[in-house]
């Protein structure tokens, strides 16, 4: 590359960096927002003992023996780590159940004995089934039931298996995707819409360098985004990094390139900001949901798995999770990296063919 081309590339890249860092909202959405999201989710899923289940005991049942409700509530409250009981009239208890404030409602048995103790709950709700089991266990034990066999329970909390460990690679991938598409795609269309692109094209500017400056800018930003999120995760939550760091940087770089290429592609024809905004949402929304940012992609039905596994964000997040949490090496990651590479080639190839410089 000649000195003149280098000077051109430097000015074009500086233009992007300057306009980005002088736009406070862009800086916030790129750096502040993912950090806040990590903090919020990290706090929501912070380490603490499991919550006791919420149980309501009906205290206005006409057939129940006086004091039966209070006795049941006392029996449940005897083990506060397992259950939290409230006595309520029937109507209020049902309302609390429907509102999700309690997971199960216990109705005391009738004094005559023809109606047994009754549990009201929705078996479709996982927390409700658990609450019903725990409440029944506690009450049966209070009634005098004995365990048939002795048991011992050992619990573990290993770093790397917590939700925040799962979440951080997902958020990094999500961030690379959205900043690639918005930072390249949206900005290019804005330049076209404001006729700045036409003005550039009216000069002898090298068009290839113009597009390259956008890709370069994404790589410069990656060098800021990635360490920020990784350091934050390591210092604030102790998220482990079991794999090789250079490999992790390599994966993130590849991902960043792919989404820069996708940004070029969505910007290749769009003339106005509404169109490109729609295209970006169309591309990012399915991946945000299906690619395993917030929960594992394997939760989706078997039939759509080939589709989900072929998405670039799925490949990127899978590779980063495997590297960070399981210490996977290059050989283990051949498949997701190949998927990413293919997406990169297709996006850049199509974008360069379709790109509209005039009008």
């Amino acid at each position: 590359m000649t000195n003149a081309s280098l000077a051109q590339l430097r000015e074009l890249t500086l233009m992007r960096l300057r306009t980005f860092f002088r736009e406070p909202s862009a800086v916030f959405w790129t750096y502040g927002f993912p950090l806040l999201l990590t903090v919020a989710l990290g706090v929501a899923f912070r380490e603490r003992p499991p919550d006791p289940v919420e149980v309501a005991v009906v205290d206005d049942d006409a057939q129940a023996a006086p004091g039966a409700a209070a006795a049941l509530a006392r029996a449940l409250a005897a083990t506060p780590s397992e259950a939290h009981a409230t006595t309520l009239p029937r109507a209020a208890a049902e309302r609390a159940l429907f509102a999700g404030k309690v997971s199960v409602v216990v109705v005391p048995p009738s004094a005559s004995g023809d109606r047994p103790r009754t549990y009201l709950y929705d078996p479709q709700r996982p927390d409700a089934r658990l609450a019903e089991r725990i409440a029944d266990d506690l009450l049966q034990a209070a009634d005098g039931r004995r365990d048939a066999a002795p048991t011992r329970h050992e619990t573990t909390r290993a770093p790397g298996a917590r939700y925040v460990d799962f979440l951080l690679p997902g958020l990094i991938g999500f961030n690379l995707m959205s900043s690639g598409l918005w930072g390249v795609g949206y900005v290019l269309v804005e330049l076209r819409y404001r006729r700045q692109m036409k003005r550039f094209v009216a000069t002898p500017m090298r068009r290839g360098l113009f597009l390259l400056s956008f890709v370069l800018m994404r790589l410069v930003f990656l060098l800021i985004e990635l360490p920020t999120l990784l350091l934050f995760g390591a210092l604030a939550f102790g998220v482990p990094m079991r794999g090789s760091l250079p490999l992790l940087v390599g994966i993130a770089t590849l991902g960043s390139l792919v989404f820069a290429g996708m940004g070029l592609l969505v910007a290749s024809r769009a003339r106005n900001l509404a169109t490109v905004g729609g295209l970006i949402n169309l591309a990012t929304l399915p991946m945000t949901i299906a690619s395993g940012v917030f929960f594992a992609a394997s939760r989706f039905p078997e039939a759509v798995q080939p589709l989900i596994q072929a998405l670039p964000l799925t490949a990127l997040i899978d590779a980063m999770r495997a590297n960070m949490l399981e210490g996977a090496g290059l050989a283990d990651l051949a498949r997701p990296l190949a998927i990413l590479g293919a997406w990169g080639l297709v996006c850049f190839g199509a974008a360069l063919r379709l790109f509209r410089w005039h009008g």
Partner: protein
């Protein structure tokens, strides 16, 4: 035949949009090297389409265009190095400073003045560290000219450089353009201000509905009106145009647009001191009283009205 003295040679230019709108309709244009050439016409006349085709930013439907002796199709890169331009209503990148913007444009060209020289040429030295979004309209237009000069162009296109500016900013920009012309650059400028064309342009092409309807120096075009002054009269009754044509000093008569039919005339006259009393005498003789009486030096605006029967700005 290639004429080496022509900066632009454009023949039979046609641009049809969507297969039906003929924005440019068989336009011929020859611009000589070193002259300031004006394309004058109302909004929608096809000026911008024409200029964008000459700038290689738009494809003609038909016709032959040579710029600096070359064709866009064959020599785009070389041509881009040699021309400079400003688009209509240029938007800059808001959060770049004046200096950064000029440095960016300068980096696109192999040769050209330094950024300091560019700042001086368009008198923006004091604004060098200002963000482009903070500039006034006049400063933005001067920055646009500065960007156009970044490659030290032989040929400069300025599309409506002073539209929407206040009088002082317009004069400031005229001075910048006049200096460029004095320095020997070829300038093509579009405008719908006749005073701008008269002041800056060596030659003017009046464009209407995609065609050149008159071509010449501003003086020549005004001379076609037959008189150097214009008198506009509206009377309290019908006027006899034929009789007015025979009044002393009157060289031409036509209806005044926007006046009640038959009651208003535009007169091209020579020697206002003779013609005006004669016109008033004639009116008195016919028992008419002028309700409106205006006179001004003949301008290109009058030429346009004379040629098309319409005002330049509507």
């Amino acid at each position: 035949m290639i004429d080496g003295n022509l900066a632009i040679d454009c023949r039979g230019l046609v641009k049809v949009y969507d297969g039906k709108v003929r924005a440019v309709d068989g336009l011929d244009l020859q611009v000589r090297r070193g002259e300031c050439f004006g394309l004058l016409g109302p909004n929608g006349a096809g000026k911008t389409t024409t200029v964008e085709i000459l700038e290689g930013l738009n494809q003609p439907t038909d016709g032959d265009v040579r710029v600096l002796g070359r064709r866009w199709r064959d020599d785009e890169r070389a041509l881009r190095e040699r021309i400079g331009l400003s688009l209509q209503e240029t938007l800059f990148i808001d959060r770049l400073t004046v200096e950064e913007t000029l440095r960016l444009f300068r980096s696109f060209y192999t040769h050209g003045p330094s950024v300091d020289e560019l700042l001086a040429k368009v008198s923006l030295e004091e604004k060098r560290r200002a963000l482009t979004m903070k500039l006034s309209g006049g400063q933005k237009q001067r920055l646009a000219v500065g960007c156009a000069l970044a490659g030290d162009p032989e040929l400069l296109f300025l599309d409506e450089p002073t539209t929407g500016l206040d009088p002082q900013s317009r004069r400031q920009l005229w001075e910048v353009i006049a200096q460029l012309v004095r320095a020997g650059r070829t300038v093509v400028l579009t405008t719908h201000y006749m005073d701008e064309a008269e002041r800056l342009c060596d030659r003017v092409a009046v464009v209407d509905r995609g065609k050149v309807i008159a071509l010449g120096t501003p003086k020549e075009l005004i001379a076609t009106l037959g008189g150097s002054e214009v008198v506009e009269v509206v009377a309290d009754g019908a006027l006899d145009e034929g009789a007015l044509g025979h009044v002393d000093g009157v060289r031409g008569v036509r209806p005044l647009p926007d006046a009640p039919p038959g009651q208003g005339v535009t007169l091209n006259v020579d020697g206002l001191e003779v013609a005006l009393p004669a016109i008033l005498d004639a009116l008195r003789g016919w028992g008419r009283r002028p309700t409106v009486l205006r006179t001004h030096r003949a301008t290109l605006e009058d030429v346009f009205v004379h040629l098309t029967g319409r005002q330049l700005r509507d």
